[in-house]
């Protein structure tokens, strides 16, 4: 297995959000994580990538056999973990080129490889940009600065293409996207899939899942996974909402 989360409890500002998450992701699988606002979906993704604002109070996470919680955020990235941010951050003055070069070379250093040559790097930028139809002008600008909502999300998938993670977390990557941007982002993601890469997709909507075709769908409620099923579960939620699941639990 690639990712194994056991009885994970986490809080922010002393408020417990995750109350015992158990989740296993195998290579090649796409898991969808659904649930109402405040259920803990984004908290889970933030805890996975090591956001210091969140505190893990108990439980464990192993990633490819390694203790994920013992690693710094950058080490988790080097090990193959990627988060497509719900709200990508603007970084004025840091160009996309320098940003990506620093990220790529940090990883290469971690893996004991030589830094990439400038020529190879720019060639790679050009190729990967095409996957999400990202304009060369955007690639030369500061990170996310002045990007539209759709451009920011495309830029996230572009970075994913550059870093080639084994486990990607898409945190509401579909939010705020128009139909075309959603298609570009989803198709871009699909082009990057391999039998060894997995994903955890957080979304409220079926339309992204129509493209990504998840293998397993989880429902998160009040800090716990309360229901797990196949792709049909997402369709059912799209039609009926979450109340029937709550009713089932209370019954």
């Amino acid at each position: 297995m690639m990712l194994e989360i056991k009885d994970l409890h986490a809080s922010i500002n002393d408020k417990e959000i995750l109350k015992g998450i158990n989740l296993t992701v195998n290579p090649g699988e796409i898991h969808a994580l659904m649930g109402q606002n405040g259920a803990g979906k984004s908290t889970l993704s933030n805890v996975l990538v090591g956001n210091p604002a969140y505190e893990v109070t108990s439980g464990s996470i192993t990633f490819n056999g390694k203790d994920l919680l013992a690693m710094k955020p950058e080490e988790r990235a080097h090990e193959g973990l990627f988060l497509s941010f719900q709200q990508p951050v603007e970084i004025p003055g840091v160009s996309m080129v320098n940003f990506m070069r620093a990220a790529i070379n940090a990883r290469r250093q971690y893996l004991g490889q030589e830094p990439m040559s400038a020529g190879d790097f720019l060639k790679m930028m050009r190729e990967k940009r095409k996957i999400v139809e990202l304009d060369s002008k955007l690639a030369n600008r500061s990170v996310n600065e002045g990007f539209s909502g759709g451009e920011k999300k495309r830029n996230e998938i572009f970075q994913m293409a550059m870093l080639e993670p084994t486990l990607s977390i898409l945190d509401e990557t579909d939010s705020g996207l128009d139909v075309d941007a959603l298609r570009i982002v989803a198709e871009g993601f699909n082009k990057l899939r391999t039998p060894e890469t997995s994903a955890l997709v957080i979304t409220h909507y079926q339309r992204l899942l129509d493209y990504l075709k998840p293998d397993i769908v989880h429902v998160l409620l009040n800090g716990r996974i309360v229901k797990t099923g196949g792709p049909e579960l997402a369709l059912e939620i799209e039609n009926k909402g979450f109340d029937w699941i709550k009713a089932e639990l209370e019954a």
Partner: protein
């Protein structure tokens, strides 16, 4: 004994010696300067303009002064490796307050242009020097002007005649060199006549591990439609104290840009006063400060809009680490006659630690009614969200911090109009942030 007394005694005792190693044009202003210094004394921090730097404390220690003009052995061309190479400059050296004239650049200056020792200029061209010397840096209004004027013996003179466009950048390397703690009083006089153009780069270095105290008074006169780019790069050490007063008088249609970059220092106070005397003159002041440890950098500016249709811009950015102290007090004065003034002032600061201190004081005084002006200041920390975003992509926290700082001051460095200098400074700033520039890196005489 108060801080002033040793300078008063020195002047009284050594007046003849000071005069004999200088020139009549310089000597002529000494007595008045002395009277003005006696009357004012050093400004305390109660004086608004000197609020952020303790002048009496800086001048209290007993420094040596080289009034007798003993030759301090150094051949800067042999020992100094410039930190800004490949610029194809006309390179000159000032060793302490003296112009180093034993070797001159190979490329000849344009016809009629003068670059030489101020003392020699005052002897050879007394009328020319007297026309400009001491006219802006008046001794009655600033005690440091008074102190410098009463003690100064030499300095730099640059004269660009009417219509002469100087192709090569003049690079003046100020080297502080001494075997004992030393006070240096240096004077700079730059005159660009109408339609003249020049670029001048000053690099400040301290070659010895001694305490240095420098007063540098620079007076710059920029004629009608003349253009001047002035760069000041300080890369000294923590025992260096620099007090620089720069006065610029701009005539109609002139254009001046001043870039002051403090990469490494001890205590620095730079006063920059620009008088816009002629219509449609434009001035741009840029400042970049990188300070850590207990370094102290105080920029104090005054842009005096005296006439209509002038433009001024100011952009000063500071990155303060450890217990560093920064100050920026920028005053824009738009006088009653100065209609259609356009003036902007922006100061942005990054305090990387809780102990770092920034004092910011943007000031705008408008007495005209049809003007476009703005002023503002921000003090902040590194953006935690941006840091985490970069970490998630695999960039270490330290590297991410470096990238953010570099990006922050990059905006100011990008305002440098000389390509080679701008590229070099980006490189030097990066080295500085990586901690590889804890002393002046380029000069081999730095131990």
């Amino acid at each position: 004994m108060n801080s002033e007394q040793q300078y008063i005694d020195l002047f009284r005792q050594c007046r003849t010696m000071i005069d004999s190693h200088s020139a009549p044009v310089l000597n002529a202003l000494r007595e008045q300067a002395f009277q003005d210094f006696l009357q004012q004394g050093f400004p305390t921090q109660k004086v608004e303009r000197y609020k952020y730097t303790d002048v009496p404390a800086a001048f209290a220690p007993d420094y040596g002064v080289n009034l007798n003009r003993l030759d301090i052995p150094v051949n800067p061309y042999e020992v100094f490796k410039c930190d800004v190479p490949n610029l194809s400059t006309s390179l000159y050296f000032m060793v302490n307050d003296a112009f180093y004239s034993k070797i001159q650049p190979a490329v000849a200056l344009p016809e009629g242009m003068i670059v030489c020792s101020l003392r020699e200029a005052a002897q050879q061209y007394p009328d020319l020097v007297a026309r400009y010397y001491g006219k802006q840096a008046r001794t009655g209004k600033d005690a440091l002007n008074a102190l410098n004027t009463m003690l100064v013996q030499d300095g730099l003179f640059v004269y660009v005649p009417r219509g002469v466009v100087v192709e090569r950048t003049l690079q003046i390397v100020n080297i502080l060199r001494s075997d004992v703690d030393l006070m240096v009083n240096r004077r700079v006089l730059i005159v660009l006549e109408d339609n003249a153009e020049a670029r001048i780069l000053f690099c400040d270095h301290a070659a010895d591990d001694r305490s240095f105290l420098t007063t540098q008074i620079a007076e710059v006169y920029v004629g009608n439609n003349a253009r001047l780019q002035l760069y000041e790069l300080e890369e000294t050490h923590v025992k260096n104290k620099r007090f620089g007063n720069l006065y610029v008088d701009q005539q109609a249609d002139s254009n001046v840009s001043l870039n002051t970059i403090t990469l490494h220092n001890g205590l620095t106070r730079n006063r920059s006063e620009v008088t816009l005397s002629g219509e449609r003159a434009e001035t741009n002041l840029y400042g970049c400060v990188i300070a850590d440890k207990q370094q102290h950098v105080d920029h104090n500016t005054l842009i005096d809009h005296r006439v209509s249709y002038c433009t001024s811009n100011q952009l000063y950015k500071y990155v303060l680490d450890n217990q560093a102290v920064g100050a920026f007090a920028g005053r824009i004065l738009v006088r009653e006659n100065a209609q259609h003034t356009v003036s902007n002032e922006r100061n942005a600061n990054l305090c990387a630690t809780k102990e770092a201190r920034m004092y910011a004081q943007p000031m705008l005084e408008i007495y005209a009614d049809d003007v476009k002006c703005s002023h503002g200041s921000t003090v902040g920390q590194l953006n935690e969200q941006a840091l985490f975003y970069m970490q998630q992509r695999g960039i270490s926290r330290e590297e991410a911090q470096m990238l953010l700082r570099f990006a922050f001051v990059g905006e100011v460095i990008d305002c440098i109009a000389i390509d080679a200098l701008r590229d070099r400074l980006h490189h030097l700033v990066e080295k500085r942030f990586r901690g590889e520039l804890s002393r002046c890196s380029g000069c081999k005489i730095c131990k």
